[in-house]
Symmetry: C2
């Protein structure tokens, strides 16, 4: 019997989530049953997509249930095992974040072999955000030589990786984020033009000033005005990888879309939404590329870390306030 704590969904957020939507619950975890291991989470991730799961609507993942623990990516250490494939001390990745200790079938735990990366990297640069960037830029947007790339939400976990992959491949990159600290991070990443959208009175004008020649690829993490600006700046046959629309996730009333969608037709644009799970086949290729860049010292990433499971709701809410530089993570133990 082990003491643990979990974060439950107490109520569905209306608009921006508030701490009262969450509840920290004490639980007791039994010994692991046959075929199970017991894991103590070391790190968990909070991601913008989780906001959608807090609404009671069908999407590509089922909604969270009120009164039940939330879930999401986590990395932990095996502290007891009732399965021959896992041993005490093994590091494992799971989708059972938002809790301290849990039992799970060994078959549902991914053992980490991480010679050169800290375990939390498997929740950021070497995990879902990294693969999202790789698949979105190279497969969905079909990046090709000479393309000019525009990235929104560029200082986040996904966006900062998109910027780096595009620069590593020799592309001109325009990136937007909110505030001077994030702009400096983007400049450190080597982007050609970093736009502070909070300081830009007219985002479309700012993008067009940065790249008068126009853009060929847009990687969208934001939606709204950023999508409008990307359509305005797009060259004919530009491809948009539609990854996220964080500007929309907390809307409490229908928020109209861009007024220039006719540009999709007049410029023969392609807008394609995607979900990283559909591109899992690229994971080995991505991981090889990542290790190569890492070995060459050409890869940077940032993490914004909150401490203790009890800080997870604030970490999550902070995503929508732009409080994260790079990946927002919670260090649980």
């Amino acid at each position: 019997m082990t003491q643990s704590r979990e974060i439950h969904l107490r109520s569905r957020p209306q608009g921006l989530p508030v701490p009262e939507n969450f509840e920290l619950v004490d639980v007791v975890v039994a010994q692991p049953g046959p075929g199970q291991a017991q894991v103590r989470n070391l790190w968990m991730t909070v991601d913008p997509y989780m906001r959608g799961r807090m609404n009671d609507v069908k999407s590509y993942t089922p909604p969270f249930q009120i009164g039940h623990p939330l879930d999401g990516g986590a990395v932990g250490e095996v502290i007891a095992s009732n399965d021959p494939t896992l041993h005490v001390g093994d590091l494992v990745k799971s989708n059972l974040g938002w809790r301290e200790v849990f039992n799970a079938p060994a078959s549902g735990l991914e053992k980490l072999i991480a010679p050169d990366l800290p375990p939390e990297a498997f929740l950021s640069v070497a995990g879902m955000p990294g693969l999202t960037a790789y698949a979105g830029l190279l497969r969905v947007a079909a990046l090709k030589p000479g393309d000019v790339v525009f990235v929104s939400g560029a200082a986040g976990a996904v966006g900062s990786m998109v910027c780096q992959i595009a620069k590593l491949r020799g592309h001109k990159v325009v990136a937007s984020a909110g505030g001077p600290e994030k702009v400096r991070f983007l400049q450190d990443l080597g982007v050609d033009v970093a736009i502070d959208y909070k300081a830009a009175p007219d985002l479309t004008a700012a993008v067009l000033a940065a790249v008068p020649e126009g853009i060929d690829v847009y990687f969208d993490n934001v939606g709204g005005d950023h999508l409008q600006a990307a359509i305005a700046a797009a060259r004919p046959r530009a491809r948009f990888a539609m990854c996220g629309m964080i500007s929309m996730y907390n809307a409490t009333a229908p928020t109209p879309g861009p007024s220039n969608l006719a540009g999709i037709i007049t410029k023969s644009l392609r807008l394609e939404g995607f979900i990283v799970n559909d591109h899992a086949d690229l994971a080995p290729e991505f991981y090889r590329a990542l290790m190569g860049w890492r070995t060459e010292g050409r890869l940077q990433w940032k993490e914004t870390i909150r401490h203790g499971l009890e800080s997870a709701p604030d970490a999550f809410i902070g995503l929508f306030r732009g409080e994260n530089l790079g990946k927002m993570l919670v260090k649980i133990a």
Copy 2:
């Protein structure tokens, strides 16, 4: 020397075009020079895309110039020739509509070989609108077996062809148009559900009632509420062929787009704008298919005909009032 008349752009429309934006001008056409033929137009087409060319903005085709004749698809008869490849009486297709008689290099005229079709069909079912439907549905939207198809502007030249191609290939088709006469036409074409959008208080609800299972392909001629409804009704990985947004073309102020664009991400949708000129390579294949359907008696098309060059502005304006059933054409001679 031959007397002729042309329609010039007198002023750029603000919103819905009015007759005063156009001017009927008397001109004299000289004898055709070396390598030229002289053509008397029999038919010309008016198309929604021409509205965009009346604005002074760069697009995939250059804007019309004030004080100059408009242009667009036309079919005419050679009445004099100064080139060995064309003879008096030949039927030719050109982009020199909006005028009665003109001289042009023979190399810029496409001689029609039309054993089984009236010449005006090369401006509708066998011309640009037909190829637009074919390329948009089969290549851009990548129609595949089992797909449920939603078509807006379905009683127009392009839309009615999309409906028929989809039905000929065995698909379930939901089609929308405005008014009972158009709905009857769609029913004659064999669509599974015809929606009169003017009589539907909630278009999204109407589409979802017609196809509770959702749609896999959307062929957009309208934009606006229709696009919103299509996103709402889309199944995961649906493909949208973005062909036109007639609901937007006369907007005098920015018109916001759909409020549910986040569905592009949550459903992994692909929205792709296209221009028929980029799919000219499909013309031979399309034409063979068309002749096959024609021979089997499985093809219908409608035309709404206005008479005399002087009626061309009204015919054009009528497109935006929904006055056409099938292709809007002007019979010039």
